[in-house]
């Protein structure tokens, strides 16, 4: 697969193109280091507000004029702000690629950054935060991340309440300064997949981004997060008849580290899909939850986390957590079997190939691979690496990097509001 891609430096941007069989459609995904963690000691709302200002007009066109150009051809451009990245997503017909690349460049390079639009962006951001403050999953993630990552670690989330206060006090000057410092081609990646001509794409990118400079690198902590030890946190939320839980710890591992893939495959056996051990027991046999799973995350650039995620009714919460811990203990102590590993390897590779069958899935896989520090050859290397794993490697990675006795448990929901048993059953 990698042979079908072309990677080049265009105007200082890492550009990867991949021609697929789809007709007329081009998907563009990109990223540059301007995420929430880049606020560092400054106003923590600035990275998100800066990202929200990109599609609110440029120095040359107001937001309605830009939207009209896109709407008239059915093209889409959107921006999102993640932990470390500003994310760029676009989709268009092949004939409209020059227009879309031009508009992406215009919005990134010369946003209008007007105070009236900032006020609207603040209102939108605060509204989203207030909604998140009542979402059990968001609150569980907030508490979990703050418990397992120390201050200064890029994966440590800010409290939702802190974001809200920061958004209210954010100034246009702070956003302009952030934009000047962090927005630039250095460390920026653009992936174009679909019915794309590489020379044409390169030429359009070179034209649109010519003369742009600046940008900062991603944050890579010199020391991985250490386990904070066992702990339990309860986040009370009113009128939530399903409680979200997270149980886990920091791994100290980045995606590309030795052991990370082995732990990932072992985790898939434990907690992914309907045949994962957690779903097979806690849901299928015991009927305690609609959804339970285990995963590793936030490890593309910095060291990440391992967690079990589930939802339980308050009346079944203790029983559900006990079952999850029981399965975790067994998995950690005894490891996975040869049969489980063989079946899961086949499934992971098959699912990977199915995922690459859409242009969006392919573009996302390429972008993630590059952000994780691989070259495009990883498209072919990934299935090989999965198939090469041994049971001993998987079980050793589980034992080495996880400790069930030192995990943090978060429960978010109406734990005390609802009865502890179901009536009449």
């Amino acid at each position: 697969m990698a042979a079908q891609s072309q990677r080049s430096d265009v105007a200082g941007i890492d550009v990867i193109t991949y021609r697929t069989h789809v007709k007329d459609v081009v998907v563009i995904l990109g990223a540059l280091p301007a995420g929430d963690a880049m606020a560092e000691s400054g106003n923590i709302a600035i990275p998100t507000l800066a990202g929200m200002m990109l599609d609110r007009g440029t120095k040359a066109h107001d937001k309605f004029a830009i939207a009209e150009q896109l709407d008239n051809v059915g093209a889409e451009i959107s921006f999102g702000v993640g932990t470390q990245s500003l994310e760029i997503r676009a989709k268009c017909l092949k004939k409209d690629l020059p227009l879309v690349i031009g508009l992406i460049a215009e919005e990134l390079r010369t946003p209008a950054l007007k105070s009236q639009e900032l006020d609207k962006a603040k209102q939108q951001f605060i509204g989203v935060l207030e909604t998140s403050a009542h979402n059990t999953q968001s609150r569980a993630q907030e508490a979990f991340g703050r418990a397992i990552f120390p201050a200064g670690h890029p994966n440590r989330p800010h409290a939702i309440s802190e974001y809200e206060a920061a958004a209210k006090s954010a100034t246009l000057e702070e956003i302009k300064a952030f934009h000047a410092k962090f927005y630039g081609p250095a460390h920026m990646t653009l992936v174009l997949a679909g019915d794309v001509s590489t020379p044409e794409a390169q030429a359009e990118i070179a034209k649109a981004f010519s003369g742009w400079s600046g940008g900062q690198d991603y944050l890579r902590p010199s020391k991985p997060a250490a386990s904070p030890g066992a702990g339990e946190i309860r986040v009370p939320l009113a009128d939530k008849p399903s409680v979200s839980i997270l149980l886990g710890q920091p791994t100290g591992l980045r995606y590309k580290d030795a052991d990370a893939l082995a732990l990932r495959v072992g985790t898939a056996i434990f907690g992914q899909g309907f045949t994962g051990r957690l779903m097979g027991t806690v849901r299928d046999k015991e009927g305690l939850t609609y959804n339970i799973g285990a995963s590793m995350g936030e490890d593309s650039i910095a060291d990440g986390n391992w967690n079990i995620s589930a939802s339980f009714a308050p009346a079944l919460l203790d029983k559900g957590i006990a079952s999850a811990r029981r399965e975790l203990g067994k998995w950690w102590k005894d490891g996975v079997t040869d049969h489980e590993l063989a079946a899961r390897k086949q499934g992971i590779v098959g699912s990977y190939l199915v995922g690459l069958s859409t242009t969006g899935g392919l573009a996302n896989t390429i972008l993630m691979s590059v952000q994780r520090g691989y070259d495009v050859n990883w498209l072919d290397g990934y299935p090989v690496a999965v198939n090469a794993l041994t049971r001993n490697q998987v079980n050793a990675a589980i034992k080495t990097h996880l400790d069930p006795s030192s995990m943090v448990l978060v429960e978010a929901g109406s734990v005390a509001q609802y009865p502890t048993t179901y009536g009449g059953h």
Binding site: H21, P241, Y290
Partner: protein, 478 residues
């Protein structure tokens, strides 16, 4: 294994705010590129595979019927990637339920994963074991008008999946022990839905809008029915509706049509037609003679307003104009609701869409209040935008812009077999799969006058159901 219809409407319209318009937008097809789609030759003629009758071909889709039992088959060859999406749609949904059995369709959908005579966990070849071993992306969903089971897999894994899917059509295990374990799973799914006040509001607006039609109750069912429905009722439901003559198989992707029909015949051809006719719904919704209102008070921070109107069934000739109206109202930053509400600081988002049904559909305009805005302000602004369309109409430029968006959306949707199968599934649900092809042609013929006419005809106060979610402060100790 999910239930989605009880918030399909709100989900559909919320999704629309990014891409363009509501669910029907996704139904755009090659026809929208400007030329009518001819009735092509079937990929495998009826003579090529004995036992099938070729029904019709349209827009690259070939329809066949298995002569022995009436199973409907749609083949959509697409060789752009070595994958296939196989789907079976049963024409049964929560519309087929009554008091005491609400949620039965959905519980049965869950139990369809508990094993069948030839494929089950003890044998190590259950549907979950097989599909996860081959890396399939699979699930099932239940809605008001249909239930579907589907997987996207490598082409070499197709036969194995057809064999399992066919076995569970008539040889499902339906054990009381499984019902008990799965009931609590479904109850947690129900509880998760109740965590979101917007979902609760949408359920209550829908329940108020429909008095007689079974769309009144949510697809997931009432909690007491989920907990108490006996296994005998589930058996009865399965034996009434899970027959080949009540199902459509859709296969999209890298297939050889004749070989695929051969596999379908091999595994589904062993079943007869249902011993009794599939029951029809004869209930009709009585006329609504005044506005209805629903109010929900729960802990939360931001309020919501939904204005709903019953509109014709999904096959009705006015639906393309309603779809155009929704796009003009809520597709992109130049849409009227964005300019009138979001950009004015009244709403965080504001979208319009229609949840298409086999019987009366539900049109909704939805807005999440921005901090500081009141429900009355937002409702007034929403109604003002509707009134403007009714009074002044829409412009030719607005109509043309939406048509261009639909042309692009057509190209986008051809990228991936699962999305194609999912859209065909929804048109099967409303009762005519050919709308997957012809609906876009009809949208392309919509004029500004059509848009104004349907707004005047359907979006009337006396036909409306308006819902407010009003947040209240949380009590301590929750």
């Amino acid at each position: 294994m999910s239930e989605r219809a009880e918030f399909l409407g709100s989900r559909a319209i919320r999704a629309a705010c990014v891409c363009a318009t509501a669910a029907a937008l996704n139904a755009w097809t090659p026809a929208a590129m400007g030329a009518a789609v001819p009735a092509a030759s079937p990929a495998a003629s009826s003579g090529a595979v004995a036992g099938f009758t070729h029904v019709k071909s349209l827009g690259g889709i070939d329809e066949y019927r298995l002569d022995s039992n009436g199973l409907d088959v749609l083949l959509v060859p697409d060789h752009s990637a070595p994958v296939v999406t196989f789907q079976v749609t049963y024409r049964v949904g929560s519309r087929n339920e009554v008091t005491g059995t609400t949620g039965t369709t959905h519980i049965l959908e869950h139990l369809m994963f508990k094993g069948s005579e030839d494929f089950n966990d003890p044998k190590g070849n259950s549907i979950k074991q097989y599909l996860e071993r081959v890396g399939g992306q699979f699930n099932a969903t239940t809605s008001f008008d249909r239930t579907n089971y589907f997987a996207t897999i490598g082409r070499d894994s197709l036969e194995g999946y057809i064999a399992i899917e066919a076995d569970r059509m008539r040889h499902l295990w339906l054990h009381e022990a499984d019902r008990q374990a799965e009931m609590t799973v479904v109850r947690n799914e129900y509880e998760r839905g109740k965590n979101d006040p917007d979902n609760v509001l949408m359920e209550e607006v829908t329940a108020a809008a429909y008095v007689a039609l079974p769309y009144h109750h949510p697809t997931i069912g009432w909690k007491s029915d989920i907990e108490h429905v006996p296994i005998a009722k589930l058996h009865e439901f399965y034996d009434t509706f899970y027959w080949p003559n009540n199902a459509t198989v859709t296969v999209v992707g890298d297939i050889d049509p004749a070989a695929t029909l051969g596999l379908i015949k091999k595994y589904y051809g062993v079943y007869p037609r249902s011993p009794s006719p599939i029951p029809e719904i004869y209930t009709e919704e009585p006329a609504q003679s005044g506005p209805r209102r629903v109010l929900i008070r729960r802990p939360g921070e931001l309020g919501t307003v939904i204005i709903a109107h019953k509109v014709p069934d999904g096959r009705n000739a006015d639906q393309p104009a309603l779809d155009m109206l929704d796009a003009i109202l809520s597709s992109g930053k130049n849409a009227r609701l964005y300019r009138g509400l979001v950009d004015q600081g009244l709403a965080l988002n504001a979208v319009a869409g229609t949840d298409l049904h086999r019987d009366l559909s539900l049109h909704t305009v939805y807005a999440t209040l921005a901090p500081g805005a009141t429900h009355a302000q937002v409702e007034k602004a929403m109604l003002a935008e509707i009134a403007k369309v009714k009074t002044d109409g829409v412009t030719a430029a607005e109509v043309e812009r939406v048509k261009q968006q639909f042309i692009a959306a057509d190209a986008y949707k051809r990228d991936g077999t699962a999305a194609v199968a999912a859209e065909i599934n929804e048109w099967i649900a409303v009762g005519d799969w050919t709308l997957y092809v012809t609906f876009p042609e009809k949208v392309h013929q919509v004029t500004p006058a059509d848009v104004q006419r349907v707004a005047k005809e359907y979006l009337n106060e006396d036909q409306s159901t308006t819902g407010w979610f009003v947040p209240v402060p949380a009590e301590k100790g929750s």
